[in-house]
């Protein structure tokens, strides 16, 4: 789960990490008063959306008067932001962050993730802040210093000391950075983050250390024990179809192609997309109906897939294990009757009771349901339909 920048700032403030004062707007008419409260000449106005590319899209602006702030806020709220990451329809801005611009002497990077190889959290620090850390990693991996920390003990002060020194900080500045690192690590463990990133962490000309921008992601599997984190969830940032799928325990991700997929199991669902592509087609979605396919789930899955107007054919690929093929065939027939298939649906079933299932599909005599022999046959058939 992702949160907005203004929410990440809130979390940092709570944790005692120094961030410059800011204001959050729900509407453009709050901009004048917010500018006055900030009491700075130069103020940055930033649209609060999860998608990147805000700067290039004109949704991060430096302003030097209340009037100018209000004008930009007005525009950002009125026109959806279109960037590389949003798609052509863009995304509606619902919150704006305003903060006094800070003089920057130097920019640093701090980040924490779980290292999948070592299976422990790792704190990363770099003297090359303000740019994407992936860029730094690709250009000069040695510029990123790392400290792996014990999940029970947390980041130790000595580790933070080493990191601070490694990115060129000393004296009071190092002390301040160490304090921030320790608080960040505590926050990461306490709130079940999957990513905690301060970029940039800056040094002012007077030697102050401040967090200017931050990104926090949370482990979806752990939000159940953090009602405060759940409260930060912004459904507007999610794809409506993906949210709807989640309600029915379906895992759905919309893609750009025209062949819908309905599969049981995530790995099989991914490889079904792959085999479609291999035979010259383009998958319209990823959809995992889960290990046990219910009639209700299948009906809902079809509704979601067929709501996508790009879809010209559907491939159903089910390996019946504990979920028996005849039960799945029954669910498919019910779904066909309830939803009404307007496009061809190629069905590949394998596994428990597959013979009964094939007979059921045959007897149902639904012209749009096309049984396939094996997976390759299914992929070829469905690609030929579009």
């Amino acid at each position: 789960m992702k949160v907005h920048e203004y929410q990440a700032r809130g979390l940092m403030e709570e944790a005692g990490i120094p961030v410059p004062p800011s204001e959050v707007l729900d509407s453009a008419d709050q901009a004048l008063a917010a500018y006055d409260r900030l009491g700075e000449k130069t103020v940055v106005v930033k649209a609060q959306v999860h998608a990147g590319g805000r700067g290039k899209a004109g949704y991060v602006k430096l302003v030097s008067s209340a009037q100018e702030a209000a004008e930009h806020a007005q525009r950002m709220f009125a026109e959806p932001m279109v960037s590389k990451q949003t798609g052509p329809e863009g995304i509606q801005v619902r919150k704006i962050l305003m903060a006094g611009a800070v003089d920057i002497a130097k920019e640093y990077y701090l980040g924490i993730v779980v290292d999948r190889v070592r299976r422990v959290p790792v704190m990363m620090a770099s003297a090359e802040g303000g740019v994407e850390i992936e860029e730094v990693a690709a250009r000069d991996p040695d510029a990123i210093k790392k400290a792996w920390f014990h999940p029970h003990l947390g980041l130790q002060r000595f580790q933070a000391n080493v990191l601070a020194a490694a990115i060129g900080l000393s004296g009071d500045k190092a002390k301040a950075a160490v304090g921030i690192m320790l608080k960040m690590a505590k926050l990461f463990l306490a709130k079940d983050c999957s990513l905690a990133e301060i970029n940039p962490l800056i040094e002012t000309p007077t030697g102050e250390i401040l967090a200017i921008d931050a990104k926090f992601n949370f482990d979806d599997n752990a939000t159940f024990r953090h009602p405060d984190v759940q409260a930060l969830f912004d459904p507007h940032e999610e794809d409506a179809a993906e949210l709807r799928a989640k309600e029915f325990d379906l895992s759905y991700i919309a893609l750009d192609g025209n062949i819908g997929c309905l599969v049981n199991g995530a790995g099989l669902a991914m490889s079904t997309m792959d085999i479609i592509k291999l035979h010259g087609g383009e998958p319209a979605n990823f959809l995992d109906v889960g290990g046990s396919v219910t009639t209700e789930g299948a009906v809902e899955a079809f509704k979601i897939i067929l709501a996508d107007e790009k879809v010209k054919a559907v491939l159903v690929n089910i390996f019946g294990g504990i979920a028996k093929c005849d039960v799945i065939a029954g669910a498919l027939i019910t779904a066909a009757k309830e939803v009404g298939f307007k496009v061809p649906v190629v069905v590949r079933l394998e596994g428990t009771n597959v013979e009964i299932a094939r007979q059921m599909l045959k007897d149902a005599n639904l012209p749009q349901l096309k049984p396939a022999g094996d997976l390759t046959d299914a992929a070829k058939q469905v690609c030929a339909c579009v």
Partner: protein, 295 residues
């Protein structure tokens, strides 16, 4: 022979009185697994619907039944605790089926398990099966082919569930038996990984070839490729799911995500091919690729 579990493995089910735990205990018993009891806190002293003894704690279950393996159907918030309990009670192999366990819970539990020397399979996995001997998990038993005199036997390691069944079925249809199949699960932090299992299969005299099924996310497959090149003499066939997956999206499994340019199928396939490993382009040709390397 086999790895991890065999006909002598004595299994308890943690969460045996729950719906999924009870159902799959039945399935495992029908397959022939020696399930010897179960635990559910607060229900000690009763009998499960299978007539097996239920204990309050793993310690009692191990003391009374001599169990050395455990199958866990414990709800995600309590899974890490149950894992550590099993490890503390002296269980040797723990199989955690549960999906949705918080990553940091797994990070912490792993530290504990590693200290105890316990082998964990999962979480978010179908489990482990040694065909004809012992099934601990939710996979359909009948698709597997037990080794017999003269069969070529395949060891299977996979991050996926149903895709594993797909691979198993392709092997079985072509007459290849399976020594052991291990679904290691789709989470970012898990128990046994490719490398540990590759080593076990390499050392198992009755495993003749290995099928390895990976997917997007992380760098486990790249590391496995390097390990195979240096240490594995048996033929290996690999398949990587998610060649068409978009970056930044979690594809069903918590660990199946391309982030920061890392974890793409292309990178994994390239690493495997570079290490001289046969990679099947299609999920439908795993059996065919295996036939080629075994001929």
């Amino acid at each position: 022979m086999s790895i991890l579990v065999d006909a002598n493995t004595r299994v308890i089910c943690q969460g045996i009185t729950g719906k999924a735990g009870a159902f799959h205990t039945t399935q495992c018993l029908e397959y022939g697994t020696k399930v010897v009891g179960g635990c559910t806190p607060g229900k000690g002293g009763m009998k499960s619907e299978h007539g097996l003894p239920v204990f309050n704690t793993c310690h009692e279950a191990v003391a009374e039944t001599g169990a050395d393996a455990s199958m866990l159907f414990v709800p995600a918030p309590f899974a890490a605790g149950a894992l550590m309990e099993a490890a503390d009670a002296g269980i040797r192999v723990v199989v955690l089926i549960t999906e949705g366990v918080p990553t940091l819970d797994m990070v912490k539990a792993r530290k504990y398990l590693d200290d105890k020397g316990v082998k964990l399979v999962g979480p978010n996995c179908p489990g482990v099966i040694t065909p004809g001997q012992c099934k601990i998990g939710i996979m359909p038993g009948y698709i597997h082919k037990p080794p017999a005199n003269g069969t070529k036997n395949v060891g299977i390691i996979s991050r996926s569930g149903t895709l594993t069944y797909e691979a198993v079925w392709q092997c079985t249809e072509r007459g290849y038996a399976q020594s052991t199949c291990v679904g290691i699960g789709g989470d970012p932090v898990k128990g046994l990984n490719f490398i540990e299992l590759l080593e076990m299969f390499e050392n198992d005299p009755e495993t003749h070839a290995i099928v390895m099924i990976g997917e997007i996310g992380g760098t486990d497959e790249e590391q496995a490729a390097a390990y195979i090149q240096a240490n594995v003499s048996k033929p290996v066939v690999a398949f990587i799911a998610g060649q068409t997956a978009p970056p930044g999206k979690r594809m069903g499994h918590a660990g199946a995500i391309i982030s920061g340019g890392e974890g793409t199928a292309q990178s994994k396939i390239a690493a495997l091919k570079e290490a001289g490993i046969t990679v099947s382009d299609s999920p439908a040709t795993i059996g065919e690729a295996l036939a080629k390397v075994l001929s």
